[in-house]
Each structure stands twice: as structure tokens, then as C-alpha cells.
């Protein structure tokens, strides 16, 4: 049975979500129902929606985890991060899902909806996502790879990574919605919400810090990479994760081409560990078998045991 939560509890929950999800008073006032309103607890911690209509599936998934109004207040500036690493089938976030999320954010009253990326225009054009952004009146900001466009960000409890280099432009936004595609990855066997955050971190930091200098010979190199991914996740926290698990590659990730599977699911949730643990099962893996998911759970970034979270699966 849903129970309403008050504004004080919402602020408390938001503060725990991290810098990117803490909202100003002005924005709180813009949340659905106003600052004094009560909200019903979401029906799901992890929402999994199947169905051929990806827009409807996306909307349903967001509804089940609380509705867009819970995450996007009026006048908020929202940044979305879909995956556009490659244009090969099953490797990038579907345009229909991005379109649905942009429309939801706008219907919630967002002042701006943007995608930030240090990848080039060809990536966005080749995936069809640039066209969707243009048609829906959102903004695509291409960030040059130079370190000058990224700010050193200390990681106080970093186990392997002591400092990230986060995109300067990212800090201009109020709400961050993470939109990866889940798929195989030759370096880490799996990629989902946790790894997608590397798209906000400077390429020089990704290459120079996440990989040990002697990564080809060091036996601990793979674990180091995954530990750095978790470290990065301790300083950047999405307000919401919406994952494309509709048509994805099971081999030769992250770039493909690889064997395509069609689970047909859109998955949403706030808890990145739980969402990734679920996504791992879509690829025939277990969350605890994936180093980054297990380490994120050990560092208390979320719940790895899917029996301990509310997973709601439905169809549209």
C-alpha cells in the first residue's frame, strides 16, 4: 500500500542521492503538487516494462518508479545521457526512448533538456539521436575533449581513483537522468548505469587513471578499472536511470557488431546497483559476478539482491 511522503523526507532522500539530485527551494516549489504536497511511494524500485511501443514502455517504467514529476520539477534544467558510442545495432540508446524522455521532461515543465557529450557529431547523427533532439526542441552540447572543459573533482573515499575530471557544463544542470543501453563489454563483461557515467568524465582521466600504465601486463588491471568506475559513482549520482534493454548486443561489446538479442525491455530505477543487477540477468549473468556491481554494493551505493527490492515487471 502506498504511503505519502512529506517534503522533509523528500529533501532527506534527495540529499542522499548526491550533488546532481539536490534541488533548490525554487525548484522544490515546482515539483508536482508544490512543496507542501505529499507523494505516494513508488510502486517499484526497479520497473521493467516490455512492449513494442518503446515510448509507452518508457513512460510506464517512469510512472512505476514515481512519475517524472518526482524527478523533474518545473523550470529545472535537465541533462540526459544516452549512449552513443557506436552506431552499430544494439549498441546505442534507441531514439524512441530518448524522444519519450525528452517529452516527459518537457511535460513536467523543464526549462531546458540537454544532452552533453564529448563524442562527436557523427556519433549523434549516425544513431539518429541528433535528429530526435532537434525535433523535440532539446539541446545537444558537444564538449571538446580538452581537459580545460572538465573540472578536477576529488573523490574523498576513492579506493583506486582519487580524483575525477567531470564535465564543467554538467554542473549547470539541476537534474541528471542516466540513459544507458545495457550490453556486453569486452573490458568488463557488462555495461549499464554505473559504467555509463564515464561519459561525463574527461577522456584523459578515463584513459590515464582508469587504466593502469601497464594495464596489458598487470594482473590487477581489470579489477582496477572496475574499482575506478565505482569510485566515480560515489561523486556523481543520477536522479533517475532509464535503461534500454530492448535490442542489445550479447557479444563484441561495447562497439559491436555483435550477436543481437531482443529482450524488449525498458528498465527504470533510482538504485543503480539494483538496476544493473537486473540488467545483468538480461544478459544471462548475475549481478554478483560483475565486479563493478559487486563493488558498488559493497560500497553501499545500492542493493544487489533483487529479492530485497521491489521489481515490478509489466507489459504495455
Amino acid at each position: 500500500m502506498a504511503h505519502p511522503i512529506g517534503r522533509r523526507e523528500f529533501i532527506s532522500r534527495s540529499a542522499k542521492l548526491g550533488v546532481s539530485a539536490v534541488l533548490s527551494e525554487r525548484l522544490l516549489a515546482g515539483l508536482a503538487g508544490g512543496p507542501g504536497a505529499a507523494w505516494a511511494a513508488p510502486a517499484a524500485d526497479v520497473a521493467v516494462v516490455s512492449g513494442g511501443d518503446l515510448a509507452a514502455a518508457t513512460a510506464k517504467a517512469v510512472e512505476l518508479v514515481g512519475g517524472i514529476g518526482l524527478f523533474v520539477p518545473k523550470k529545472a534544467k535537465v541533462v540526459l545521457m544516452p549512449n552513443v558510442q557506436s552506431k552499430n545495432p544494439g549498441t546505442f540508446t534507441k531514439p524512441e526512448i530518448l524522444r519519450a524522455v525528452i517529452r516527459m521532461c518537457k511535460s513536467a515543465g523543464a526549462a531546458e533538456v540537454a544532452c552533453l557529450s564529448y563524442l562527436g557529431q557523427p556519433n549523434w547523427d549516425g544513431t539518429g539521436l541528433a535528429q530526435v533532439i532537434k525535433e523535440e526542441g532539446a539541446v545537444l552540447k558537444l564538449i571538446p575533449r580538452d581537459d580545460a572543459n572538465f573540472k578536477p573533482t576529488p573523490i574523498p573515499n576513492g579506493a583506486a581513483l582519487k580524483e575525477a575530471m567531470v564535465m564543467n557544463e554538467f554542473r549547470a544542470y539541476d537534474v541528471f537522468i542516466n540513459m544507458p543501453i545495457t550490453k556486453d563489454h569486452a573490458g568488463t563483461r557488462f555495461t549499464g548505469t554505473l559504467k555509463n557515467l564515464m561519459g561525463l568524465n574527461a577522456p584523459s582521466n578515463n584513459r590515464g587513471q582508469f587504466h593502469k600504465p601497464n594495464w596489458q601486463t598487470d594482473p590487477a588491471a581489470i579489477e582496477h578499472l572496475e574499482t575506478c568506475i565505482v569510485d566515480l559513482n560515489t561523486v556523481i549520482t543520477p536522479a533517475l536511470n532509464i535503461v534500454d534493454a530492448t535490442e542489445i548486443i550479447r557479444t563484441n561489446g561495447p562497439m559491436g557488431p555483435g550477436e543481437l538479442i531482443k529482450p524488449g525491455k525498458v528498465i527504470a530505477g533510482v538504485d543503480r546497483v539494483a538496476v544493473d543487477a537486473y540488467c545483468a540477468t538480461v544478459l544471462g549473468l548475475k549481478g554478483e559476478e560483475i565486479i563493478q556491481i559487486r563493488k558498488a554494493w559493497e560500497r553501499k551505493l545500492g542493493e544487489i539482491d533483487l529479492k530485497k527490492v521491489k521489481v515490478v515487471e509489466t507489459k504495455v
Binding site: N88, A186, P203, Q216, T217, A221, I222, T251, M255, P257
Partner: protein, 326 residues
Amino acid sequence: MRVSGRAGILLAAGAAVLLLGSAQERKPSDVPPIREPLDLPSFLPSAADLKAWKPKPPPQRFKGDDLFLYIDGGAEIFCEYGFAEVVAQDYEDPRGRTITLEIYEMTGPESAYGMFSFKTTAKGRPYAIGQEARLEDYYLNFWKGPCLVTLTGFDASRECVDGLLEIARAVNGKMPLKGSRPSLVDLLPKEWAAASRIVYIRGPLALSNIHAFFPQDVFLFKEGLAAEQDNFKIFLLRYGAPAEARRRFQAVFEAFAQSPAYKDVKRPMENYFEATDGRGLRLYVQTFDDHISLILTPTVTDRESIAAMFARLRERDWEAASSRRP
């Protein structure tokens, strides 16, 4: 076999020292080729070479570490196998559909074969293009000499497949290359030569993609082979010399014995042990000559059958194969 208490701490420390000490034994695979670099753009078909497909210039070209600019998170596996340069070119048909051609020059034919074996699946249809080719639903890979060629289409339609084959054959015709696949492949018993999947591996990334034994690289092998057939996976991991293989076998055994991820670790013979993982997968591990061999199966198998499989692995013409080692 479980080792606990102080002895366990000492063994774990010993294993760690072995692991650290052995880190220098693995050399990176990016050894520069000892021949002149190939002129990759000369292998790109022009519009005149094709019926309806036209190149969409300009091609992209990346060498060495710049591969990370092209395929970012996907570059490491190429580096593990040994990468030199890539050229990529899109081709467009009159309806605006695109096929992407990538020609990867690896550091040698064994690297090219390795990358080919890693990227292809048992479901792919073999084709007589290059030295070996496989057509999957919407993409095709072939290797020839030190080059791996990948063509990616737009769907699994007849038109797309015809386009992939046409461009692949045109590329193949422009590549006067040849090379041998790794001699390790010849060490597989005949009945495994037609296995559903055979992958030549050069390091921990490729190995962990086939089976993740540990979060760290425990095996530190020089080169290896993985084959899957029915309910079995077998791994042949080769070392520089028999003494090295025996040393590594001891370290591998200790890693299994110490890891909470494995149970029922038993070592009835000096050169053989077995274990069970958390999913109930049975592992059988043996060292012989300069190899460590592993057999994995989800079904309980009697020791005689496993011994027979290991015996078949030992029967191969080690002398002849060893004489062809690089």
C-alpha cells in the same frame, strides 16, 4: 581442500608474491610488426569495383593508441591481440543505406586470426573469402594475412547480405596477403577441431570474456586456446617452458584453493586438481609439458572420462607443433 588460519595467510601471501613476481612474465602484445606497414587505403574498393555501392568519403584512419579515439571502450581487446592500424570506410547504396567496412592491420597473422576468432560466433556461416570468413545476421568478418576485415550492415535482409558479400569479395581481391593461423590450434584433438567455437586468446581480457575465473589474471599465460563443444569448454594455456607452466600451475591451484568462489578443491595428483564453482560448474585442471589445460562442464563427469580427454590433449603432435612456435 580448504586451508585455514595461519597457513592460509602464508599461502595467500605466497600466491600474491608469485602473482606480483610473475607480472613481468606477461609481455604486451603490441609488438611492432617486423615488416613494412601495409597501405590500408589501397585495399578500399572504389565505386568502380562495386555494382551499386559507393564510398562515402572520407575514410577514417587510426594508428596505435589512437584506436581509442575510434572505438574508445572497445580498443583494449584489439591491443591485447596486437593492433597496428585501422582504416574505416562507409559505403552507401542508392537508397541511402550504409555498410561500414573496417580493415584492421594487426601485428601479425596470428593476431588477426585471434581477433577473428574472438569476434565470430558458432552461429556464423562460413564463406570462402580471405583465409576464413563468417557471416552473422548483419555483419561479416574475415581474416587474411595480418588483417582482420569487418563489414557491418543495416539488417539481416537479402539485400544487406548481398552487399556485405560483394564488398567483402572486392576487398579480398585487393589484398595480396597470406599468413598462418597459430600453431596452438593444431594441438586440438581432431574431434574438437570442428567444435562449435574455437577462440585463440592472448591475454586476460579475452579469457575473461569466455570464462571469468577470477577478477585478477591468475594464469599469466603466453597464449591460449578456448574451445566449446556440447557441454564442455576446454582451455589450453601455453607458457614459455615446462618449468614455468609447473610454477604457474602451483600458483593457480593456490588461487582456487584460497578463493571463496570455489569449493571442493581436490588435488589427487601433483599435476592435477579439480574444483566446483558457485554455479555448480565442475573444473578439472592439469599441467603437461609447457601447458595448463582446463576442462569445464556443468554435468558431473567421471574421472575416467576426464582423464581420457586430457590424454587426447596430450596425444597431439607436440613436437611438430612446438617446432612451428614463433
